[in-house]
Symmetry: C2
Subunit: 354 residues, 2 copies
């Protein structure tokens, strides 16, 4: 399936990723219809139409499906049932329910990655406090306890140290099914953003070096200071994952680079990714355009890096800085969010460095 020029692309989710997807779609002449609960959402501001409805509103989802030529998503926690409702009407969702359900459960995700032959940092499923004690005994005291579902940007996570009481950590997650991930002494975190089209063609972007603060991506530096062979390994692993998922669209795989150059997967996101926000400026084709091309069944564009670059997120009060000060630091993208809240992603700045 290849969409005709002027077709309508539906986007599940109304945040900044949807906003940048909608603009990439408009550049290619597509119409966009955003489905998300809420008013004045970042994505709705630049779309042809917005349906303000809940993800469990079956009638609204059916109307949405009927109005779209293809549907995509900007948020991995869209309920799989919503995707199934849309697909039942006969409208294709890319990526589909399969990739989404794997990505929504951290345990299923690790199992899938390992089944693909992609090594992960040590992990254990934790369903009871006694599981947690056993896992800590096995993996050592430095670890992160995360809910299996619904976590993002450091939410639903508790960091454990030698002196942390496992019971209080467990209680902090309110008894949700969890996963314990052991710390690994990595050199740095990188990610591979790639796009895969319906006939299995893949373009991979140059891996950035990612730095986080309080669980939220803070900064990318591109290219990551790693040997070419490690970068290629990372791209090969991400491609393996996308092939195994029979994935269509942009996907990101976060990985730890170990001192010996080996790679351990952290997690993947079945969507355009914050660690690819420098691609529209610095690459021949950005991640948003390539995602739209993939879901439209259009040929992918080259991901060639045109120059070295840094990307910095504007989080919470970072966006209270003056426009003048921001613009002095590079190419500014702001997400159209009215209210500044701590930890809220408000925008990002891309700076040419080479």
């Amino acid at each position: 399936m290849s969409l005709p020029i002027g077709a309508t692309i539906g986007i599940l989710g109304g945040g900044q990723l949807g906003r940048m997807l909608a603009m990439a779609a408009a550049k290619l002449g597509f119409k966009t219809l955003v489905f998300a609960p809420g008013e004045n959402l970042p994505a709705a501001q630049v779309s042809n139409r917005h349906m303000n409805a809940a993800y469990d509103d079956v009638l609204a989802l059916q109307a949405f499906a009927g109005a779209c030529d293809v549907v995509t998503l900007e948020w991995e926690n869209v309920p799989v049932s919503a995707v199934e409702t849309i697909e039942a009407v006969g409208t294709r969702v890319r990526p589909g329910a399969g990739a989404l359900s794997v990505a929504q459960d951290r345990v299923e995700e690790k199992v899938f990655l390992e089944r693909c032959g992609i090594d992960c940092a040590p992990w254990r499923a934790v369903d009871t406090v006694s599981d947690l004690h056993d896992a800590l005994a096995e993996m050592g005291p430095d670890a992160i306890l995360k809910t299996r579902r619904d976590g993002y940007d450091g939410k639903g996570q508790v960091r454990l140290h030698g002196d942390t009481d496992a019971l209080s950590a467990w209680n902090e997650l309110a008894g949700a099914s969890a996963i314990l991930e052991g710390f690994v002494p990595f050199n740095m975190e990188i990610s591979v953003v790639l796009a895969r089209d319906p006939i299995g063609q893949v373009v991979t972007y140059t891996p950035p070096h990612n730095t986080h603060a309080r669980g939220i991506l803070r900064h990318c530096s591109v290219p990551a200071p790693i040997p070419e062979t490690v970068a290629r390994d990372a791209q090969r692993l991400a491609t393996k994952l996308a092939d195994a998922l029979d994935y269509v669209g942009v996907l990101a795989l976060e990985m730890f680079v170990m001192p010996d150059g080996s790679l351990l997967a952290n997690e993947f996101a079945p969507r355009v990714h914050n660690s690819g926000h420098w691609t529209p400026e610095a690459c021949e084709t950005g991640q948003f355009e390539n995602h739209i091309r993939a879901v439209a069944g259009w040929p992918l564009g080259a991901s060639t890096l045109l120059y070295a670059v840094e990307m910095e997120n504007l989080i919470g009060a970072d966006a209270a800085e003056s426009a003048q000060a921001m613009l002095a630091r590079g190419s500014v993208t702001l997400y159209g969010k009215e209210e500044i809240r701590p930890g809220r992603k408000m925008g990002h700045i891309v700076r040419k460095t080479g």
Copy 2:
């Protein structure tokens, strides 16, 4: 005046230039409100809001003015009276009525250019058929007769040759006040696109070499194959014009390069310009973003050319080509126009050449 983040920018006009301005505004976190008569307009598809009203609807213009923090335009034939109505409410229009009224009349435009010390190709105001005979006798038989007002993309123009009957040409323009422009044996046409901010800072883009077909821009090649000194002269002249108009926003000056390297002005446009459509891809800051920054009172971005580039317009049936074929030729921008009509600008393609 410097707009706060999240302010609303009004755009008079709903075409592709407004579409690209609205997306540039959204990138910087602004809201946009498009004022233009019509449904499903290219600019309205990517804006927060659209007011579908006529340019002489005073009440609608006043409501529009009240809803915007600043107003700009994407079309030089917006009636000056509409701009005056908006300004009377106290909302600033950038560029203002002054630049607009000069640009709307080809005779006033030439007079203004020459008063700035910018040479023009030979021209004569023509109000009667006897004026036309006199002008042809003076300037020679090779010339173009154009209406003084409301012409664009080759409309309202008749080309005269040695054997053309002046009377039939005059009748073709239906007796509108006109201007006769003599042909000059130029080497090529170039243009300077520049942005000027409210405190008079100017950034100029590298001049492209422009090629037209049937009065419509067809192709730009950047940089134009001219000596550096000629390029700098052209930029200096365009800056002189912008300063003389006390201009705010992006302006384009089209010029003929003569065999001796001298420059003759053709016309200027008080808006973002088709001959600058390669700037978002190939320059540090594109013309649309710099226009928005200028009208918002935000600092301008660097216009540095990052690589050599070609831009090709997709006109009429060009857009019936497959998406695949278009994408194979470069970065594609389509304007969201449903109907293909002869001579209608449907999109453009930008290709890196160096």
